[in-house]
């Protein structure tokens, strides 16, 4: 089942930098779809278009459709607040809010109007367990979030998105600032999380793409070069450029 359908999507920034040209792709539900390719390919831009975080940047032109459960998220009438609750995002650098560990996770729910202490408590615990952080922090939930290590902070950011019980999780190079052990923890939890969520991941290198992907899409300077299952892309790439990139001839 397709969770998201991107149709003829193009985007250009106000300063004429990174842009996307005529992207067509369907994102499978309950799978990890990986968007990979060299920097400047538009992966990040595409992720941020899905939950309209691009609204915060100067975008000069945008066209095409992004259908999320059949609804075009680019429609000006879209309730972006609701949309962002359904499509969560984890950024490249750990970005804990200047609050306690608990408050970081409960933040989104409290903004959504949840007042019940009991419900918040259980949602926080559940989200931290899903991000495999609960065991490490359950005795110090009221410590400041930036007292955690980088890897823990990143899992906290994941938990923070999960607490809202979204349908889709966008991960924009979530392990680029992490060591291999912390990276492995995140990658492992993805395999568990995809049972419940639809996951889009911009990995921070090709190996990570190959390790984690169910589906993979290769982006090169704003163009979707090739899209298919992991086997198709990493074993029998059709496009010469995909093959060259995977084999490390450029990038």
């Amino acid at each position: 089942m397709l969770k998201i359908e991107i149709e003829n999507f193009s985007l250009r920034y106000g300063d004429g930098t990174e842009s996307l040209r005529n992207i067509n792709m369907g994102i499978e539900a309950n799978a990890v779809t990986v968007l990979f390719g060299p920097a400047g390919g538009g992966k990040s831009t595409l992720l941020r278009a899905l939950n309209r975080l691009n609204d915060l940047t100067e975008v000069s032109s945008i066209s095409g459709k992004i259908l999320f459960d059949g609804q075009n998220v680019l429609d000006p009438a879209t309730n972006v607040i609701e949309l962002r609750r359904k499509i969560g995002i984890v950024f490249a650098r750990p970005t804990p809010l200047p609050l306690t560990i608990y408050q970081n996770v409960s933040y989104g729910l409290e903004l959504a109007g949840e007042r019940s202490r009991a419900r918040l408590d259980s949602a926080v615990e559940h989200a931290l367990r899903q991000a495999e952080l609960w065991e490490e922090v359950n005795d110090r939930l009221s410590d400041p979030a930036n007292s955690l290590s980088g890897g823990q902070q990143q899992r906290l950011c994941l938990a923070r998105s999960l607490a809202l019980q979204p349908e889709v999780i966008l991960l924009d190079e979530p392990t680029s600032a992490l060591d291999p052990i912390a990276t492995a923890k995140i990658e492992t939890s993805l395999q568990e999380l995809k049972k419940t969520y639809t996951i889009l991941l911009a990995p921070h290198n090709t190996q990570q793409a190959a390790r984690t992907a169910d589906y993979a899409a290769f982006f090169l300077v704003g163009e979707l070069v090739e899209y298919g299952t992991r086997e198709q892309l990493f074993t029998y790439p059709k496009d010469k450029r995909t093959q060259d990139y995977i084999e490390g001839r450029f990038g």
Binding site: N51, R93, L97, P98, L111, C157
Partner: protein, 297 residues
């Protein structure tokens, strides 16, 4: 390798004698200039402490002036300055912070916001006596507040606004953009983001700006001269529509308008105003350094 050899070796990698002399001269010059800037403030403070401290007594701080202000205390002027400072805070703090939030968080860069910014910059450059006359025309005469705490506070508020707006805006802009993006990505509205994340982080900077602005208001004479300050009042003000005595204006009065004024009372009054203003300054410094120590981003 002997020590002498080591020194020899090091020398070869450092600059030649000429360059070193230039460096030394420059360094000495800069040090001398920085010391020069400290001298006036040290002299002023030390001199006023030496001259003013002997006049300070419980009576001086808590009694009304007597014998045509040539004896007694300065209690009503202290109270008046506190009233004026609080009155100024009531108007200028909410307005200033609101304006800064608009400029830093909502306003896009267009002709309208550029106009606002230019207005604020120019407001900061207006001489204080002009504020006094403006306040006199607008608040005392046109709005019929009379010579009152209200009129003086409003006048001081307008004078203080640019300081509060620009320091608050700076404090808001210093909050990392990533906090805003994260909050919005979690389904926050702009206002929720500002209220829960941005403003709390900016509080120390905002408080510093507020205190620095109010401190200036507390020490000004010209803006209250026409709008709210009284030469002498036998009782404390009862309402915001009463005029009041105030420290800075009182200093002007006893220094120039009262013949046979004992010099010790003059210095004592100046000392109290200085303590009041520098005390506020110290609070601002403490808040700022505490916040800096706590900050972890």
């Amino acid at each position: 390798m002997s020590e002498a050899q080591a020194v020899q070796r090091t020398k070869r990698f450092t600059s030649s004698g000429n360059n070193r002399r230039a460096e030394k001269t420059g360094f000495a010059f800069l040090t001398a200039v920085s010391i020069l800037t400290v001298i006036p403030i040290v002299l002023i403070v030390v001199y006023i402490i030496i001259q003013g401290l002997p006049a300070i007594s419980w009576t001086f701080l808590t009694q009304f002036p007597t014998q045509g202000m040539r004896a007694g205390g300065i209690w009503p002027t202290i109270v008046g300055t506190i009233y004026l400072t609080l009155g100024t805070a009531i108007f200028s703090v909410p307005l200033g912070i609101a304006a800064a939030v608009y400029l830093a968080e909502y306003a896009t860069d267009n002709r309208w916001t550029r106009l606002i910014r230019i207005a604020i910059i120019n407001l900061a450059g207006v001489p204080s006596v002009v504020y006094g006359l403006f306040g006199f025309g607008l608040f005392v005469i046109f709005l019929q507040f009379g010579t009152s705490i209200l009129a003086a506070s409003l006048t001081l508020s307008i004078m203080t606004l640019p300081v509060i707006i620009s320091t608050t805006e700076e404090a808001l802009r210093a909050v990392p953009q990533s906090f805003r993006v994260v909050s919005l990505s979690l389904g926050g509205t702009r206002w929720q983001t500002i209220r829960r994340v941005v403003l709390p982080e900016a509080v120390p900077g905002v408080l510093t700006g507020v205190i620095l602005g109010l401190e200036r208001a507390a020490g000004e004479t010209a803006p209250i001269l026409f709008t709210g300050a009284a030469f002498f009042l036998p009782q404390l003000p009862h309402s915001p529509f009463d005029a009041t005595m105030a420290l800075p204006y009182h200093i002007f009065v006893i220094a120039t308008q009262v013949p046979g004024m004992p010099i010790s009372i003059q210095y004592g009054t100046v000392f109290v105003l200085l303590v009041f203003v520098l005390g506020m300054n110290a609070i601002a410094t403490v808040i700022r350094s505490r916040a800096r120590a706590r900050r972890q981003w």
